[in-house]
Symmetry: C2
Amino acid sequence: MPNQTYPTRQLCTFLAGLTLADVPAPVVERTKDLYLDWMASAIAGKDAPAVRRLQEFAAAMGPATGDAEVLVDRRRTSPYFAALINGASSHVVEQDDVHNGSVLHPAAVVFPAVLAAAQAEGKTGAEVLLASIAGYEAGIRIGEFMGRSHYRVFHTTGTVGTLAAAAAVAKLYGLDAEGINQALGSAGTQAAGLWEFLRDAADSKQLHTAKAAADGLQSAWLARAGFTGAKQILEGPQGMAAGMSTDANPAALTDGLGTRWATAETSFKFFASCRHTHPAADALKALMQREDLRAEQIEAVTTHVHQGAIDVLGPVVNPSTIHQAKFSMGTVLALVAVHAHAGLGEFEQHALQDARIAAFRDKVTMELDDEINAAYPRQWIGRVTVRTTDGRTLGARVDVPKGDPDNTLSRPELEAKAIQLGAFRHGASEAEMRAIIARVWALDRAPHVNNWLPAQ
Amino acid sequence: MPNQTYPTRQLCTFLAGLTLADVPAPVVERTKDLYLDWMASAIAGKDAPAVRRLQEFAAAMGPATGDAEVLVDRRRTSPYFAALINGASSHVVEQDDVHNGSVLHPAAVVFPAVLAAAQAEGKTGAEVLLASIAGYEAGIRIGEFMGRSHYRVFHTTGTVGTLAAAAAVAKLYGLDAEGINQALGSAGTQAAGLWEFLRDAADSKQLHTAKAAADGLQSAWLARAGFTGAKQILEGPQGMAAGMSTDANPAALTDGLGTRWATAETSFKFFASCRHTHPAADALKALMQREDLRAEQIEAVTTHVHQGAIDVLGPVVNPSTIHQAKFSMGTVLALVAVHAHAGLGEFEQHALQDARIAAFRDKVTMELDDEINAAYPRQWIGRVTVRTTDGRTLGARVDVPKGDPDNTLSRPELEAKAIQLGAFRHGASEAEMRAIIARVWALDRAPHVNNWLPAQ
């Protein structure tokens, strides 16, 4: 055997040995928060066209029934197709969580895979929590390892998400370090997802989370069956970093294993838009409250941003779909300025049709800020400069945007958000969502994880 | 709409308009040769452990029956899983075709996808031939577009293969240029496959062809259903070339459309090993015949090679599996020197156990040759220098290795190879293979493409 002390293997050894007793109680509780926030997001993806197409694909290619639950249609299928559809629906309303340092959306890829596999294997809530934590800890570190150069072209949640899902399901299956390593090998050699779709407002973002969850599950399943993959898939000379990064940092793969809990560093979304818009939206909201400004009094807004915001949001000039509008800095700030919030309802009702939003959108520009760029991705600082119609120049800055770990959502806020997400497309009634909430807060004691929503 | 004259779109417009009447008759006939060579290769993948694991995965996750045929077990499933398993089995004995300029193995990804989709849709043999030609023409040009820098880290058959399969199935479905473009968008954002597995002799090569075929089919299926993808997935600023190539050449995408038939440039494998070993193997064989040398008279062999051979074969020093031995230059030359051929039988019986092979293997080295490297990948020149035990230094060179279009296999040679591949793991009897051969030579007049092998 080759040297077993390479960083990927050290990560696998940590994951294989991890027990729920090793994880601090607040991290376990935070994982429940993340799970609830994910399930509500996945339910809210109901009826989105891209998700519908994947449901049709699953009906054509998959089995007619199975052990795993599809949240948006309450049917059952095999774990592969449940992970595929739940993965797609998790990300479509852009309300799912994000980890700053890795720029990974862990929930959308980890939970769909874990839940589908757990339902087929009869696993407990505690096993689901532990596997999910393993997926978050692995995925976040792998995202940090791949670096900023990767994220410029690749949608990290698609690429790295495949490995996060694989690590989670491999842990759920109880694989040892060797097995988890094999699963990561198969996952890494399938890792894909390019940002090019942003220019066309295409459906690829849903395909990325769908395939990351499903292919991650597949990689773990195959590893358990004895199918092998490259051991040094991350750091090897023809591995992921060699092909898709110019600033990979192997030390990130093992950073603080067992002491740093990356899971608890994950942020919740308060606005229903791309996370890159949130710091500026918070700063604009704070400025308008402080100065008692109305939208009509604003002539121009300059947002001072990191390069990643320009890379992802820059291609979106004139959004033609609600989903694309979530990647338009101007639209998000317009909704905050005109309607005081950029939530799901504001996007549905105002993002595209409202002339005031279009007018305000064109007043917003992005400008690269060296300090903010240097702090990113560890810190997502929001700063705006506003020029008013009466000639004043005003500034505001928010160091910790709403939803970040140091400014997180409380459980009442998370519950309210979950109920709103359930109601969005009538994916779950308030009573159903309250039942889900109660189950999630007791997830560590749940004997099984089946039947979240009754068949209709 | 954005400008519709970008290279990817021009390629899609050509593919959408292509009819079998546009294709010269010798190219159609050559496509039948390629189809036969593929089907025999796919049948020979029977019982390979990696293929078995994917059959088990399909049994767990897919439907119990369906319209599409799995060649290695003669069962039926949905097109997605048939493409997956037939894609895996096509490539495992390393006897499937290769296109020099793109370093793509088109058969292993195009035919599994087209056959599975055609069986579900009741298509004719002529439609299968046309769709396959579309897949070859697209895939080869996309492989050439991605360039040599891509191939250094990425297994082009995994990455570009996904788009080749998508183009083929999109054509089979009768999509227009817009639809084919959407299919390529979804395929390109799923394109993956890293060479890192070579170091571990891992199963990823089968996963790459399996997923390329299945995901390509999925991309076309989704495009037909209205699922969108990035239009400039190849040449766009956050597309495949931006992320995975440093020498991409957009002109390659439209090179000679309608006049140059890349399909007919594809080479057949004469040896059962990685194509990068073939030119040197041919040269050594020619030298030993010319000088009437026996293996025992050879003290050292220097192979003068292109960089791609070093990238792919270099990591394999001490092969531990038969599949890995196919990527060992020393093993292949040893089989040629000791047993006069490096076919399936020689690999099975001698590649690992035979002390003479191991001894000869260690006499073989690779050396980068500037002239050969400059000619590659358009020309795969073989050159060896041999030092004999009696102190002579001898050289030989082969400009066109056996199996290349200018030194191709005849139909009798292809038939004999197919029968041998069928017999290899008892995948098909000689009578069954002769029936397949007769059907393939008449494929352009076949009313359907079902039931190649009777259920057992």
